[in-house]
């Protein structure tokens, strides 16, 4: 798979006016996003996610290292023309929604009937067609975010870079955006999604990376990250809950987890008690658990080696 977004040992430092104070927002950051995937970019506030996105878009220059966006160095305007970008805090010029989306489409070189059609389609996809003749200064925050999304997709981009695209949306609109992302992936687009909504990331992302204090602390396929080989979940029938520590029972089925090394002993215990093993699977964790683990105060250092 070709790389559409690549960071190579990128470091970004912010300095105060006189250079006395210095904050390292990104520290020798490496990342590759492959074409056709939905990539989840996670991290607590201040981890450096937005800095990384702004570097990729060419809004700022790295202090060290380099990166490529769609095969071009960061900041190349031709590459940006093939990208759709939604910033964290959507800020657009106050005018009617449809002319506004057309304005941003025209900045990407679209014109004429094609531009009008694309603007119309983009507003339809984000569910704002009925409000397209209203001035966005009267829009709610959620509607603004949807206009922001419309201006990001108006040029039919190869790569969508979305910084918190659903933070202001209601659950129905969130589902709509999720479907839009899945449709885009089906159409061969790549999506780079920065979000705090871990359940959403878990649902749509093929791969995720967790950033903490400017460093990449965990990266991998979502399905692999969520499964652990260290603990096994055993589901059994015909045994009592009290026989196994931490076990839960539901509809006559007992469920408990044991360290992988004790799996055999646990299974034998079930059989010795006259029970029946229904299933044995690697324990599945939530993305939230992984996130909390790697971003815990001591997590950055210990997890760095696990990348």
């Amino acid at each position: 798979m070709p790389c559409v977004l690549e960071f190579q040992q990128v470091t970004k430092e912010y300095r105060s006016l006189l250079g006395r104070r210095q904050v390292r927002a990104l520290d020798t950051f490496d990342l590759q996003v492959e074409a056709g995937e939905i990539f989840g970019f996670l991290g607590p506030n201040g981890a450096g996610k937005t800095t990384a996105i702004h570097l990729a878009m060419g809004f700022m220059r790295p202090s060290q290292g380099l990166g490529r966006l769609l095969g071009k160095p960061f900041g190349d305007k031709r590459a940006r023309g093939r990208v759709g970008f939604l910033p964290e805090n959507v800020a657009l010029y106050p005018r009617r929604a449809e002319p506004l989306v057309r304005f941003y489409g025209a900045l990407n070189g679209l014109n004429g009937a094609e531009l009008r059609k694309r603007a119309h389609d983009a507003l339809e996809r984000v569910g704002l067609l009925e409000d397209s003749s209203r001035n966005i200064s009267r829009f709610s925050r959620g509607m603004l975010q949807r206009v922001g999304l419309a201006q990001a997709i108006v040029n039919d981009p190869e790569l969508l870079i979305l910084d918190e695209p659903t933070s202001a949306l209601d659950p129905v609109a969130r589902v709509g955006v999720r479907e839009l992302l899945l449709q885009a992936r089906q159409a061969g687009k790549t999506i780079f999604l920065s979000s705090h909504l871990l359940s959403e990331v878990e649902l749509v992302c093929d791969r995720v990376a967790v950033l903490h204090r400017g460093k990449l602390v965990r990266m991998g396929r979502t399905s692999q990250l969520l499964e652990t080989t260290e603990r096994m979940e055993i589901v059994a029938r015909g045994v009592t809950v009290k026989s196994f520590s931490g076990a839960t029972a539901q509809d006559g089925v007992v469920r408990f987890a044991v360290p992988a090394a004790q799996q055999r002993a646990a299974l034998e215990q079930v059989w010795n008690l006259g029970g029946e093993v229904v299933s044995v699977n690697p324990e599945r964790r939530s993305l939230e658990e992984i996130f909390l683990e790697v971003t815990a105060p001591s997590g950055a250092a210990s997890a760095a080696g696990a990348v």
């Binding site: 878009m57 940006r80 990208v83 910033p87 959507v90 800020a91 010029y93 025209a106 040029n155």
Partner: protein, 237 residues
């Protein structure tokens, strides 16, 4: 080029209320001028016309020093520069936008000046040449302000612009050499307007206009160079 024009028109659109107020001010003064006994108060009319005309240079500095700051503070700059728009194109759009905003003012002033000064018996053939002088001065002053605003806040950018425009004027005044005012010819162009007596025998020199156009290009290139190093996503507060 299309994106440059879009940014320019967008700038004028964003500044439509200040521009409208300025146009109303010009119209109000014109009606007051027409309502007076123009033939008897012709010198007063000429004085007011020239004063109102040179104010546009100050407006261009105001527009130039605040354009980038406003877009950065509101974060709207991100939605523009996330498209296939280079920073140089963005600055070009702003320079054209500032010049366009000032040209609208100058156009209104040219029309109303032609009415009122014509009524007062002045030779008005010079009015449009003077308006051209002002537009050239505005383009240069706006570009200098824009250049400073790439790394200074609007207040300091306006101050620095005033210094760049004022020092050649001061040197010219103290040394008595008119040529020194041509180093940055904003003052020379404004002086052309202020010293005009609307006498058709006055010579019209295009040198300061040509110099202003050339220097606008130089300052635009300089601002593009500086702006290419600026982290635009960093808070400007």
């Amino acid at each position: 080029m299309k994106s440059v024009l879009l940014i320019a028109i967008n700038f004028v659109r964003e500044q439509r209320w200040p521009i409208l107020v300025l146009l109303l001010w010009v119209l109000l003064l014109a009606f007051l001028g027409l309502a007076t006994d123009a033939a008897r108060q012709r010198e007063d009319l000429l004085f007011i016309f020239k004063q109102v005309a040179v104010y546009v240079v100050a407006f261009s500095v105001f527009f130039g020093s605040s354009a980038i700051y406003n877009d950065r503070r509101s974060r709207r700059i991100l939605s523009v520069l996330s498209k296939a728009v280079g920073r140089q194109q963005y600055l070009s759009g702003l320079v054209i936008g500032i010049t366009l905003a000032c040209a609208i003012y100058c156009f209104a002033l040219g029309i109303t000046g032609s009415w009122t000064l014509g009524e007062a018996g002045f030779q008005i053939s010079e009015v449009w040449f003077l308006m051209l002088c002002l537009i050239a001065a505005c383009a240069l002053a706006g570009t200098v302000a824009l250049m400073f605003s790439t790394f200074l806040n609007p207040f300091f950018a306006a101050g620095a612009t005033a210094a760049v425009m004022g020092i050649p004027a001061l040197l010219s005044y103290t040394s008595g050499s008119a040529h020194l005012a041509y180093i940055v010819p904003v003052y020379a162009l404004a002086a052309t307007v202020l010293n005009s007596s609307f006498n058709s025998h006055e010579p019209m020199t295009w040198v300061p206009i040509a110099l202003a156009v050339a220097e606008t290009l130089v300052f635009w290139l300089l601002s593009a160079r500086i702006f290419s190093y600026v982290d635009i996503a960093v808070s400007v507060e």
